[in-house]
Symmetry: C2
Subunit: 310 residues, 2 copies
């Protein structure tokens, strides 16, 4: 089984309104709620791919019950704080209200580590570390978890950004999967423009993936939106791109991570994994909500994906 | 004990943000949550006045637990739907997002009626019917409850608006307490302008309170903001006004209802009840949240309240 760590899950609330006008009372015509956060969405894609994972992270407050609705094996560490909500107000445009989320105590972090060790002891195929860190956890939380996984002989896939990514990559995860912007912030170089689905491979994109390896990752996949992705896997360089699908880039990134983790778990050939990853990510970009995709759309897109070793 | 019916309670969520800008992601710097809805706020004032009431109404969904936080005796009827939230986004101005709330089924309404009858059988001093109706309950819900209370020999105080008020008043509640706008909508006449704390009594305000009696109420108190209130109680007409306090008109109205209900329960003289009601409402207007007031502020205002029989 694949384990997915989601330290900062969310309750995603979507309000449809006629028009959001500051200073006025606005009637909400429809309310949708679902569990969210990057790890939860990666877990949803894995389940849809026939690899239902085990989820772990922090959950607290009266909204934590929504996390049970995901319908996956989960081992949430209870906290005194309250799982954050993300309220999206849709009136043609989307306005997001992002709650600050809980502050995790030292004791709660240690309880999570114990729970993580329990999961590692069950010998998962891969552990995915995904998304932002809640306040109060160590700044190098992902680094510590990568090391614990290494000690247990479990490969880790890291999908994060900023300081959390940097501290995690420094501990040599099996695979890091930043997007180009995140990789650039890691100090890896400059991203080529996002124009053109089959845009020419540029030296600067190559610098980006090399930079992720230099920062500590053993393998790296850097996604660059319409430019596809660039990867260094087992010492070989790959470039992959597919049809450009307008839509939900968050969902695309989460799908990419899920397919890469499954590929590592099953030991499939990297070219096949990358091909499926691009097709699934494109299908996820076309879906309305992160963590969702239409498998038939992914199958239809598959022949249009190009993967080459470079 | 006083019973307070709150058929449509709410979870009031307050977000403080730097600036609400449509189409952007906005970080919420602080989150406050409390139970709300008119009946809950009336109940809070009664508790603060030393008359902790018994609350009843509908509660459902993962937010219903907030209703337990009120710390009052309550007998909520469970529903399959979800207790509504009211999200207030404060960035200097207040923008309100009003969820539609649950749809109550026939079966749930009948369960509530049974619960209401149980409360009536315990012989409460007064029953307060306060606030809006959730979808799905009978349009004449308040009329039916007034009749049930009458049959049980329990006096009812009605604080509602629109069609719910009209249907309730038609069943002859012991007291109706609309504000001027609500009374006007009931067809009682025109409201005098809101200028001047001690503004001259006008014939049209008199028409307003007469209209509430004509619509069916046995006694009526019509609040008119800065113009104080006009009442017909046991066949006598009163006019009362106090110092003008800028602030929270919702909180003021809820406090007025609470003090009137307590006055009926204790059998105090109407002039004393009205004096206390005006002072408490003014103190509540000065408080930041509905259902809250500073008793010392109310005491300080008391000598500045004028009540006269007219």
């Amino acid at each position: 089984v694949i384990a997915v760590v989601c330290l900062n899950p969310a309750l995603d609330v979507t309000y449809h309104v006629d028009a959001l006008v500051r200073g006025q009372s606005v009637r909400v015509s429809s309310v949708r709620e679902r569990a969210g956060g990057k790890g939860v969405n990666v877990a949803r894609v894995l389940a849809a791919l026939g690899e239902p994972p085990c989820l772990l992270g922090f959950a607290g407050g009266r909204y934590a019950s929504v996390l049970a609705d995901v319908g996956l094996d989960a081992c949430w560490t209870p906290i005194a704080g309250t799982t954050r909500r993300t309220v999206t107000v849709v009136d043609g445009e989307a306005t997001l209200l992002l709650e600050p989320g809980p502050v995790v105590s030292d004791q709660e972090w240690r309880a999570f580590e114990a729970s993580f060790d329990d999961v590692l002891a069950s010998d998962p195929a891969v552990v995915v570390l995904a998304g932002s860190l809640p306040a109060g956890v160590p700044a190098d939380a992902y680094g510590r978890l990568v090391e614990r996984a290494d000690t247990a002989g479990v490969r880790s896939v890291l999908d994060a950004d900023g300081a959390a990514l940097r501290a995690g990559v420094a501990a040599h995860p099996y695979l890091a999967k930043p997007n180009a912007g995140e990789a650039r912030a890691l100090g890896g170089g400059l991203c080529a423009g996002a124009a053109g689905g089959a845009g020419e491979f540029s030296g600067s994109l190559g610098d980006l993936v090399t930079g992720v390896l230099a920062a500590g990752a053993r393998n790296a996949v850097v996604s660059c939106g319409a430019d596809g992705l660039l990867a260094v896997l087992d010492g070989r360089r790959y470039r992959a791109y597919g049809p450009v699908v307008e839509g939900n880039p968050t969902g695309a990134g989460d799908a990419l991570t899920a397919v890469l983790a499954r590929g590592i778990a099953t030991g499939a050939a990297w070219t096949d994994v990358l091909r499926q990853a691009i097709a699934t990510a494109a299908a996820a970009a076309a879906a309305p909500a992160a963590g969702e995709f239409d498998a038939r759309v992914a199958d239809d897109l598959l022949p249009r994906v190009s993967v080459e070793e470079i």
